[in-house]
Amino acid sequence: MIEVKNLTKSLPNGRKLLDGISFKVKKGEFVGILGPSGAGKTLTLRCLNGLLKPDSGSVIIKSENSEPLDICKIDKRELRRVRQKIGVIFQGYHLVKRLSALENVMIGKLGQINTFRSLFYGFTDAEAEDALKALDRVKMSQLAGMQTGSLSGGEMQRVAIARAIFQSPTILLADEPISNLDPSNAKTIMKMIKPLSEQMPVVGVFHQPEMTAKYCTRVIAIKEGKVIYDGDPKLSNKRLEEIYGEELELIEQQEHMMPLTAK
């Protein structure tokens, strides 16, 4: 479970980027965070795994058999340990293009492997077998040996998901995972992420309200650093206008390209 309490972060000139963000996500939930650009969605997500430290507030992570831990208050070493169990997928996939798909997946466990061994010996056969199984789950085991740079966008994102799965994480975070993909690949990816939410809380930032409406169990909308909506993923047009403000016009124009399922 993740509990976010009152996150705030301001720029030196006083402008508030995050203004008291609070919400809770439990196992079994697939939460989509929506909002206009610059609203603070990605910043919030980065606070969830410690890539960003807020000025105040807390991010409490509690897994089944351990004590709750506030990410914002722990030191670097502890943070590293906690990160081993937080899986992240990114908009740009963030894979090492020169390495094979299999190696990229095995990188997921680097935090959990003894540093010395990982530097000089690499990965064990057992780890490689498990990595293959993870690739199997995303239907990429055929391409395990291929250099990642030669894969397509959809395939790369699937490898990234496999990397996250390989970590056996207790939480999964996703930073605009489908923004770089065409609609068919986007659907595939969403279909792969959804079942993972049965084992762990999944929080993702999205720009595609129709996708979150279809696959997420809950939607949180952030605007100007504040949570303005937290509930049913199927958003009414009026809601959408509240969230995106003037940008709704753009969406209306593109309606035939991005059909909104909620009417």
Binding site: N49, L51, R83, H94, R98, G111, A160
Partner: protein, 254 residues
């Protein structure tokens, strides 16, 4: 137009100052003809009869090879210590950046002279000089290479809880490895030429042989050695280009 006049005057002054008479080159061109006369036909017996010539060629090749290898490796290590994304401590970074600048600016001449005294005139001295020269030439380049590496995969690896060393091993090194190797091969190409020049000062190898032949006025030998040098350098260049193209695909370095 005035620019042209100024330049001409400056050039004229420069020539006078150094006793350089461009016309002299053409007026005295017969010296060149005389020399060419003395140099032909080139005496290739120097290669076939004298085993030390072949040895000298091997020495030059070895010098350049080892210096590129050792120098390249040391340059990479220093680059890791000088790059902002691999060395978080500014003091260490600044120190090694300064060291690299220093090595780049000290003239190769001074270095060879020092080593010739320190370890004796030999191929060893030449190799040590080349090592320093290689570090000076490539240290800065490697540092920039490291800093220009793609950041996102590194961030992802930090996100799984890895340490900086692991990020270096799994994100940075795989990304720079091909360019690094191509540069080492390029270093070999450059170092062959320098090795020959240094040989003239006591660095051993074919440069030394050339100087020797010239000092006893065996111009036919000199001619033969010069052609050998041309073949050697061109050969190395071709191999170097071929290997680099294989490693990098398209688009070589300089």
């Amino acid at each position: 137009m005035t620019l042209l006049m100024i330049i001409s005057i400056v050039v004229a002054l420069a020539c006078i100052y150094t006793d350089f008479n461009p016309i002299a080159f053409f007026v005295e061109f017969h010296y060149v003809r005389d020399l060419l006369g003395e140099m032909s036909p080139p005496n290739y017996r120097v290669l076939t009869d004298d085993p030390s010539t072949g040895m000298a060629i091997l020495q030059t090749l070895s010098m350049a090879f080892l210096a590129s290898l050792y120098g390249g490796v040391i340059a990479v290590v220093i680059a890791f210590l000088a790059a902002s994304n691999t060395m978080p401590y500014k003091v260490v970074r600044d120190f090694f950046r300064f060291l690299l600048s220093l090595l780049r600016v000290i003239p190769a001449l001074a270095i060879i002279l020092i080593f010739v005294i320190a370890v004796g005139p030999s191929t060893f001295a030449g190799m040590l000089t080349l090592v320093i020269v290689t570090i000076g030439n490539f240290g800065k380049l490697f540092t920039e290479m490291l800093e220009n590496v793609d950041n996102p995969p590194g961030e992802a690896i930090f996100s799984v809880g890895a340490s900086r060393m692991q990020v270096i091993r799994y994100s940075i090194i795989p990304q720079i490895l091909p360019t690094l190797m191509a540069n080492l091969i390029f270093a070999f190409d450059v170092n062959i030429r320098t090795a020959i020049s240094l040989g003239i000062f006591g660095g051993g190898g074919i440069g030394f042989k050339l100087q020797l032949a010239k000092s006893v006025l065996h111009y036919k030998d000199v001619a033969a050695i010069v052609t050998l040098i041309i073949v050697l350098v061109t050969g190395v260049e071709k191999i170097s280009n071929y290997l680099r193209r294989k490693i990098l695909g398209e688009g070589k370095l300089k």
